[in-house]
Symmetry: C2
Subunit: 217 residues, 2 copies
DNA sequence: TGTACATCAGTGAACGCGCGTTCACTGATGTAC
DNA sequence: TGTACATCAGTGAACGCGCGTTCACTGATGTAC
């Protein structure tokens, strides 16, 4: 994208300013990770970035603007994940790609969870900008998943009772929520790899309807 | 439970006070639904409940205490849902019970989503009390789901690659997140009943491994 | 059946902090010649 | 190769609001006789 960064007054900004802006974003992410949205403050962000509060307002009209900017960078990291779903999984061997997808998505999530949680929260709360940010991000993967379901139904492997889009949304929901929830699951003695294997199996089974090799215990 | 309600100073409180406390909780829930956690204020709650701010502090040490109290009442409404999972689904006919479960869970969720979202948010953020509230609630259903997976594996219908607890958690995650997300899904032209049918199919398939009747399109 | 007293429940008004936000300013960097 | 000037970037200090929280108080209800 060839868009130049602007200050809040509309000026195009130079290198030094871009660096400052980035430091502010980094600090925002740090604080989001450490303390969560409920305790996020402009004053703290500025201090952590080694800048005066007034500086923050040169680049962001308010906290939401900064969080939205972080959402955009998260989106950039989501784009490559499409590769794992495209072309669609179509044979038992493709479970390897499902496995790789789960792994990659897990990493994506652990890089960006702090931002994604807020984005989802604000989107759920009805904020238009966050809604749109979420939609753009989700549709990327959702469309590919839905296409797999449709293909699976045409091949009569996937139940006709699935709505392709709803099924895809369900899978996304599962991935998102579960990664949020990960520490908790881990605490009950389920290893990370067991969790990934489980997700892989459910995903592959639901989207493609292709039987998983090992059905014996 | 025979626990009597206490004021913050430890006194057991009478009927009139119980009613006031309840009005405060009702107002809290209303505001949570309307404006979300980020804008929740003691002053507003008190005003809406027709009380002075000082009154709030007679019954709750802070906002979190009130939200935790609301989480407990949500838990009460979750208990009956166990019926739908117990005894375990074991034949194709049990898909009716899965369907009823999804329906009931959807209603449970739409009654309590505002509180559950905050509970999850705070639990994810590491708050001990909210963690415990969430665990107690989730384990109720999680245990039954995990048992079904184990049974399905013993009958060699469910892939051995599933970890029973992780699979159950994945299903819970899917339900929770997707209901949050419902308006969005609806907006893309998926009807509520199509969504429920999809969830029912995925749930039943994943937990029991029993093939769904209609695999043709 | 009324009066005095004890306890319970609720509040007005204020204090004070902390945070968002702004404005007039200073300092840094680039450019012309 | 230095000096003057323009533009860019950053800030100190303050204002003011809004909210959490408290305390000494008032009003309501129950109880004894």
């Amino acid at each position: 994208m060839a868009d130049e960064l602007l200050a809040t007054d509309g000026r195009v900004i130079g290198e030094r300013a871009i660096a400052t802006r980035q430091r502010l974003l980094d600090a925002t992410l740090d604080l989001l990770r450490r303390d969560g949205v409920l305790d996020l403050k402009v004053v703290d962000i500025s201090r952590d970035a080694g800048a005066a509060p007034a500086t923050f307002y040169q680049y962001f009209s308010d906290l939401d603007a900064a969080i939205l900017a972080l959402s955009e960078t998260a989106l950039d990291d989501e784009v490559p994940l499409v590769e794992f779903l495209q072309p669609p999984w179509s044979s038992a061997a493709d479970i390897e790609r499902a496995r790789a997808f789960v792994q990659a998505y897990s990493e994506y999530w652990s890089d960006h969870y702090a931002v994604l949680i807020v984005r989802n929260l604000k989107a759920d709360g009805g904020d238009v900008d966050f809604r749109s940010a979420r939609s753009r991000a989700n549709l990327l993967l959702l469309r590919r998943m839905a296409a797999m379901v449709t293909a699976g139904q045409e091949a009569e492997r996937v139940p006709a009772s699935l709505d392709p889009f709803a099924a895809a949304a369900a899978m996304m929901a599962m991935l998102d929520r579960l990664f949020t929830y990960q520490t908790e699951v881990r605490r009950r003695g389920t290893s990370k790899s067991a969790q990934h294997e489980t997700l892989t199996t459910i995903l592959f089974q639901t989207l493609t309807g292709i039987p998983t090799s090992s059905t014996s215990s």
